[in-house]
Structures are given as structure tokens and as C-alpha cells.
């Protein structure tokens, strides 16, 4: 048994201190320790993108990041984007475009799209497809997800 390490992580604006094993993945820390089950765990090896969160503003795979590496970092999860009574603009775009069916991939899609919308111009739908290529959806055929991100990008650019 390896020694536990004390970490303090800001998650959605709130500081959490915990003693964790070094091998604890950030995804499991969020879900099991903090009960933030919006972050989904799919493939557990960085392929599916369902566990994507923001770390210090950058999208990262929380299944490829150890909780100890998030010590002192600012984490944002899907729960930070809005709630059922007050959806955020990107969530609203997903709702309007019916960009989800089962919803399992949606938290990762939303966090990836959040980072894409900050970092890239997304001039063409091809750029959006390229940006979403690391997130796997097995229901929608992606078309409505692309349309939702297009709508969010257009609203961003209209500001």
C-alpha cells in the first residue's frame, strides 16, 4: 500500500481537500469522492472522450490524469455549465438541436466544445468535426452535435 497524498483541488469554484492514493484517476476522484457524476467514464483509456473536463481552462481526459496531478489546479466539470433550470448557452444549443440521444457522451462533448469554442475560430463545419473527433457518440451520427456547436459558435461570433 502506497502512502496517500493530501491534495487540494478547486472544482467548479469550490476547494476540496482530500487524502488520495497516487493511482486514483481524476475521473474517479470527481465521481466517487465528490459525487460529481456528470463526468462519465467510458473507455478508461483516453479514446472515447466521455470523461473530458477542464483543468486550468484546458480540456483534458480525466481518465488519463491522476487526482494528485490536479493538486492546486482549477477543475471545471459539466456541472459548471448550468443546471436543469438554467442551462448554459452551449447546453441550450445542444437542447435546441437535439444533439443527444442517450446522453452518455454529452458531458464530454460539452466540455470539449467549450474548449474548442475558446481556442478555435471554427470557420467551417469540418473544423467542428475535426474538433469533436476525439469524442465518440454511438447514437446521433454526430450531425446534430455539429449543428449545436455551429449554433454556439455563431452566437459567440455575433457578440
Amino acid at each position: 500500500m502506497t502512502a496517500k497524498i493530501s491534495i487540494t483541488v478547486s472544482v467548479n469554484g469550490e476547494n476540496h481537500t482530500a487524502e488520495v492514493e497516487p493511482r486514483l484517476l481524476l475521473a474517479d476522484f470527481l465521481r466517487e469522492n465528490l459525487d460529481l457524476t456528470g463526468t462519465h467514464v467510458g473507455c478508461e483509456h483516453g479514446i472515447c472522450g466521455a470523461c473530458t473536463v477542464l483543468m486550468n481552462g484546458d480540456s483534458v481526459r480525466s481518465c488519463l490524469t491522476f487526482a494528485v496531478q490536479a493538486d492546486g489546479a482549477k477543475i471545471e466539470t459539466v456541472e459548471s455549465l448550468g443546471d436543469i433550470d438554467a442551462l448554459g448557452p452551449l447546453q441550450e444549443a445542444f437542447r435546441e438541436n437535439h444533439a443527444l440521444q442517450c446522453g452518455f457522451c454529452t458531458p464530454g462533448m460539452l466540455m470539449t466544445a467549450t474548449d474548442m469554442l475558446r481556442k478555435y475560430k471554427l470557420e467551417t463545419d469540418d473544423d467542428i468535426r475535426d474538433g469533436l473527433s476525439g469524442n465518440i457518440c454511438r447514437c446521433t451520427g454526430y450531425q446534430n452535435i455539429v449543428a449545436a456547436v455551429r449554433s454556439a459558435a455563431d452566437k459567440r461570433d455575433a457578440k
Binding site: T52, R61, T112
Partner: protein, 299 residues
């Protein structure tokens, strides 16, 4: 699907990292971006009792100009920083292009150049770029630092000449002459996937060499190619230069070079493609990469 227990050491300087590696008697491994390592830990394909996290080492993520027109890239430089660097775009457009094929945004936000080179996947873009661009890989280790030519660095799939107590600290790319033409062609099954095969090429024409020295030119299609480097990705057990193809380009032109690249390739069969299909890709992608490189080359 969860890693086995391990001891976690944070290093804040290169010396601390090397000391921790040396103290472990070859048992410890380096954790950088973790984008290849952590999947292998989750699957328990890789296991080590100690991981030394180097993400906290300050100043290891700089992209600096060197006096020969090249760049010195710190080992912790993230793929996203390389992808968006104006210096890279200006001095090494072939690298800028290659970065567009590297994984996905969340992976590029974390993955590092030092990690990619140390991981040494023969189908990855950065090891191929290191070979194409005659990179020098600068290391620190218990026995002191080394500068290793990329051609000597990769020795087998996922295997480099790095010692267990040695880490990559920077990658130096020597400058290219201003007229160097370039081409980069990759075939992958989905965007961001590892390449089934890829070919990168740089050429200089009309008496200029790739590093800017004057050389004797040879005629071809009205332009004379003076020097060519062609690197193959996913077509060997390491990234390699296609030497026969390079010679064929100077002697007989693009079609001959493409045919020679098929001979230079020694690909594997795997579930993504047969060896024969990869040889076919070697020829097609070499033709495309060289055609683009010749069009871009200038005096």
C-alpha cells in the same frame, strides 16, 4: 482498468527528477503528459513501483529561437503549444502541418514533445519529424547530459537509447534554408488516430542545400533538386529516412522515388492494415509529399 498502486514523486527541477530516477535503481519511470503512459497503466500493460512527475519543472516548456535559424523546444512543450506556435509555423512549416494530425485537443493539451519522443511510437508524428529534421535530443541523466541525434535515438518500437535514469530536456531542430520545400502526407482511419502510414519530405533546389550551404545541383523537370530528405512513418519499426527514395529523387525524379520508397518500407501487418497495403501507401504518399515539396521549394 485501474492502475496498480505506485509511489508518486513530484520533481520541481531536472536534477530532482534525475536523482529520483537514479535512486530507484532503474525501477522508476517518468510521468510527463501521460497520454500514452496512463492508458498503458490503466490496462496494466505497464507497471512501475515509482513514477516521477516532471510536470512541475518550470521553464521546460519554452520554444526558443537558435542562432542557426532553428528552434530549441523544451521537453514539456505541449502539442497544443507546438500546433499554435508562430515560430514553428515560420521556421518549420512541415512540423506545423504534422501537428494538425496529432491526436485530439484534450490529448494535445497534455501531451508533450519529450514524452512523444521517449514513447517512440513508430507511427507517431513527432518522432518522424525528429528524424526528418535531424533533431538533436538533449538529455539529462545521472551520468551527465547527452545530445543524441534522432537517427540514433529510436532503436525499436517504443524503445529508445535513453537510460533508465535519463530524461529528455529539449529537442533542437537545426534551421532550414529559406527555399526548402516540404510535404507531409498521412493516412489514418479517423482524424487524430495514429497513422496507418505517413511520409514527410523536405527538398532544396538549384544549388541550395537544406541547411543553407551551397551544393552542386542536378537537373530534374526544369528545377534541380540538390538535397532531399524523406522520412517514413508507420512503415518500419522506428521512424526512418527513405535513403533509396532520396537517391532516386535526385537521379530519376518523383515517380522513381515513390517506387523506391515502397522498397524502403518494411511495414508490419496489423488490424489497421496489411504490410502490402502499407507498402502501397508508402509509394502513393511519397509521390504526394514530394510533389507538394517540389511545388513549395524556391531558390
Amino acid at each position: 482498468m485501474k492502475p496498480a498502486p505506485f509511489e508518486y514523486i513530484r520533481a520541481f527541477t531536472i536534477d530532482e527528477a534525475v536523482a529520483a530516477l537514479a535512486a530507484s535503481d532503474g525501477e522508476a519511470k517518468v510521468l510527463a503528459g501521460g497520454q500514452s503512459l496512463v492508458p498503458m497503466l490503466n490496462f496494466r500493460v505497464v507497471d512501475a513501483p515509482i513514477f516521477v512527475d516532471i510536470n512541475g519543472i518550470q521553464g521546460l516548456d519554452r520554444i526558443e529561437e537558435t542562432t542557426d535559424g532553428g528552434l530549441r523546444i523544451g521537453a514539456l512543450t505541449r502539442h497544443f503549444a507546438l500546433e499554435t506556435s508562430e515560430l514553428v509555423k515560420d521556421r518549420f512549416p512541415v512540423l506545423h502541418e504534422a501537428m494538425k494530425h496529432v491526436a485530439h485537443l484534450a490529448i494535445r493539451n497534455r501531451g508533450t514533445i519529450g514524452g512523444s519522443l521517449s514513447h517512440a511510437d513508430p507511427a507517431a508524428e513527432l518522432p518522424t519529424m525528429a528524424v526528418l529534421l535531424n533533431a538533436k535530443i538533449v538529455t539529462a541523466g545521472a551520468a551527465g547530459g547527452r545530445e543524441i541525434a534522432a537517427a540514433d535515438f529510436f532503436i525499436a518500437p517504443l524503445t529508445t537509447t535513453l537510460e533508465p535514469d535519463e530524461i529528455v530536456v529539449a529537442v533542437e531542430l537545426p534551421g532550414l534554408s529559406s527555399g526548402t520545400g516540404w510535404g507531409f502526407e498521412e493516412f489514418a482511419q479517423r482524424r487524430g488516430d495514429f497513422a496507418v502510414a505517413g511520409v514527410a519530405a523536405i527538398v532544396s533546389i538549384d544549388g541550395q542545400s537544406i541547411d543553407g550551404q551551397s551544393m552542386d545541383g542536378q537537373s530534374m523537370d526544369g528545377q534541380s533538386v540538390t538535397e532531399a530528405r524523406i522520412a517514413l512513418m508507420g512503415l518500419h519499426d522506428t521512424p526512418v529516412r527513405a535513403r533509396a527514395a532520396e537517391a532516386a529523387l535526385l537521379d530519376d525524379g518523383i515517380d522513381a522515388a515513390a517506387a523506391a520508397a515502397r522498397q524502403d518500407a518494411e511495414p508490419m501487418n496489423d488490424l489497421h492494415g496489411s504490410a502490402d497495403y502499407r507498402r502501397h501507401l508508402a509509394e502513393v504518399l511519397t509521390r504526394r509529399a514530394l510533389t507538394a515539396a517540389m511545388e513549395r521549394a524556391a531558390r
